[in-house]
């Protein structure tokens, strides 16, 4: 996966997107790549795992070779206006920025194009070998992936319009972009992932996603159930394992990541995931 230029980690809320995006970023950094890790939709998700405190729009080096940033739409808009349109020195409350703000709320696709556009613009820069995004959840990822197309339908002319083709092409290019759908072996994450897969295969906006099941339990090799907590824990483990297997049979993952018991800090989790992901990525 790390030979791609843009990795988008999505999944239903609560499945561990930030942890996995952080783990991938740490792994990529370890292998010597120049990495940009981006909090696209949930501020604080990545920074908790890097242990850095809140991130800003301006990328900050959090490990040697690993920069991290938080998507801030108003900053992205000003940057877009400065770099792509050539309007400089605009303040936050300038009339044009205000007009864009209004549009971003009222017109679909604008909000998303600014966000996904920022990620794609960073991909185009040669500063990074790979951009790894803690992407919006599956419920919203469609409107982000589709934003270039949505805009090109709504806006017949203009400069934004002229860039949407490049954006769509980068997203669809299997050499450039890989979408990772993370899920848990439970009913709702599985059904939501299936829905997303159906939508994706209909829309052809990106190549088929890589499916990664998170928090998968190992099979318990000993079939005994002695009395007391040993047996109680064994029973709980076996029934959770069996339930998980049922969902994994229904939606087969390309890769699985283990359940980490008793692990408290996000930093610990990300470091373990980086080790685990080495076999995958």
């Amino acid at each position: 996966m790390l030979d791609k230029r843009l990795l988008l980690v999505s999944g239903k809320g609560g499945v561990g997107k930030s942890a996995v995006a952080a783990g991938l970023s740490l792994l990529a950094q370890r292998t010597g790549l120049r990495v940009l890790a981006m909090e696209m939709a949930s501020p604080g998700g990545l920074s908790a795992h890097f242990g850095t405190g809140p991130l800003a729009f301006e990328p900050r080096e959090v490990r040697p070779g690993l920069h991290a940033m938080q998507m801030v739409r108003s900053d992205a808009l000003l940057e877009y206006l400065a770099l792509q349109v050539g309007i400089r020195g605009m303040t936050r409350l300038g009339p044009l920025a205000r007009a864009f703000d209004a549009l971003a709320t009222a017109a679909p696709g604008i909000r998303e194009i600014i966000t996904i556009g920022k990620a794609l613009w960073e991909v185009r820069e040669d500063r990074w070998d790979v951009v790894i995004a803690d992407a919006p959840p599956t419920g919203q990822i469609g409107s982000y992936l589709r934003a270039p197309l949505t805009i090109s339908e709504l806006v017949p002319t203009g400069r934004i319009r002229s860039q949407t083709d490049y954006m769509s092409a980068t997203l669809a290019d299997p050499e450039m972009t890989q979408l990772i759908l993370l899920y848990l072996a439970e009913e709702l994450p599985v059904t939501e992932t299936e829905e997303t897969m159906r939508w994706l295969s209909k829309e052809h906006l990106v190549t088929p996603p890589t499916l990664v099941a998170n928090r998968v339990l190992e099979e318990l090799s000993d079939p005994d159930t002695p009395p007391g907590p040993v047996g109680e824990a064994a029973q709980l483990h076996r029934s959770l394992w069996a339930e998980q297997q049922e969902w994994l049979d229904r939606l087969r993952p390309d890769h699985v990541l283990p359940y980490y018991h008793g692990m408290f800090t996000p930093g610990e989790v990300a470091a373990h995931l980086a080790d685990q992901l080495e076999a995958i990525a």
């Binding site: 609560g14 709320t105 203009g158 400069r159 934004i160 709702l188 059904t191 090799s221 709980l236 692990m263």
Partner: protein, 344 residues
């Protein structure tokens, strides 16, 4: 007098199941109870008898006193705005591509529609208890902020942003549209885009009185509701749960409880395997024991830092598939503030 209980929290923590279980308990306690759910898992939906239903409350086939309704996930404030629009405006809005698109994409749209529907059920005064499983958008906070956001959008704040001044009339706007800055915006976005957006906002504004009055009614219902926040012990949903203690004041009452779901037996925390236990089982116990400790620490930190009333529900290994299973889910629950539900 109808009591309202809002069950909030992040997605994936078992919120819908907890809401259903509380409703079944209340119904069996003799209260006429309506449970309003969003996007239930298939098995839960069939237990509640809502799998094929729209958003009209239906009495349960097997349980007296229990009604269930499913919030329409496709509903949006589009319908709400249309309800408050003059016929001529409504038909113009229906044709406006931005209105159609915005009503699908406005972030608080589903939350607004959900809050509106829930308030309607409460105002009907047909039940003793209405239990609402809130949509997970924005960690659930959107449900509480949606009425104000909606009034903001309709009220023309955006329009004032575009023009940078007081809200213009229709004719005044078109004069403003000739201003250089808007011409520049048009150059970037394409011709007359802003104008079309503004036109839709001007139309939408005519619904303001109706929408904002409705918003205040909804807010009144939310303010007089009891709130249970559901979470697991995982960091992400706990972060969302914390928001209800930090961000709710002013929008609603402080949560009556934070319910930690999927709790492991306390005595596992100190448990060790007796000698002679196989390495596999010993390691398994050690892992789950560590998890038990982590869960306990998480609850203690939450309670001491936010002064929250903490309740727990044990980890049930097979999701309930019928009403008895739902009711049994709470057999081993601890510290649930039943008085908030009206059960002493």
């Amino acid at each position: 007098m109808t009591r309202t209980l809002l069950i909030t929290g992040a997605g994936g923590v078992g919120k819908t199941t907890v809401a259903a279980a509380i409703a079944v308990r209340a119904a069996r306690h003799g209260m006429r109870t309506l449970v309003v759910t969003v996007d239930p898992a298939r098995r839960l939906a069939s237990a509640l008898g809502v799998q094929d239903l729209g958003n009209e409350p239906q009495p349960h086939a097997e349980e007296d006193n229990l009604w269930a309704a499913m919030l329409d996930a496709g509903a949006s404030w589009r319908a709400v705005a249309m309800r408050h629009a003059e016929p001529e405006v409504a038909s113009r809005l229906a044709d406006n591509e931005f209105f159609r698109a915005a009503s699908e994409h406005f972030p608080a749209s589903q939350s607004y529609a959900a809050a509106d529907q829930a308030a309607t059920f409460v105002q009907a005064q047909a039940w003793d208890l209405v239990v609402v499983d809130t949509p997970p958008a924005g960690g659930g906070i959107d449900f509480f902020t949606a009425p104000a956001q909606m009034a903001d959008l309709v009220g023309g704040r955006l329009l004032r942003w575009i023009t940078g001044g007081p809200l213009p009339g229709r004719r005044a706007f078109f004069n403003l549209a000739a201003r250089p800055v808007l011409r520049m915006a048009d150059a970037i976005l394409g011709s007359d885009l802003l104008e079309r957006v503004a036109e839709f906002l001007l139309d939408l504004r005519t619904t303001y009185d109706g929408v904002s009055q409705r918003g205040r009614e909804i807010e009144r219902v939310l303010r007089s509701s009891a709130i249970f926040v559901v979470t697991t012990s995982d960091p992400a949903p706990v972060r969302e749960a914390i928001r209800f203690y930090r961000e709710l004041p002013g929008l609603a009452t402080s949560p009556a409880a934070v319910i930690f779901n999927r709790i492991l037996p306390e005595h596992w925390a100190e448990a060790t395997a007796p000698s002679g236990t196989s390495p596999a089982l010993e390691q398994n116990l050690a892992r789950w024991s560590a998890e038990t400790v982590r869960q306990r620490d998480t609850r203690e930190e939450f309670s001491s830092r936010y002064g929250a009333h903490v309740a727990t529900i044990p980890w049930s290994t097979s999701p309930p598939t019928d009403l008895d299973g739902l009711a049994a889910l709470l057999d081993e629950a601890r510290e649930l503030p039943w008085q908030e539900v009206g059960i002493s």
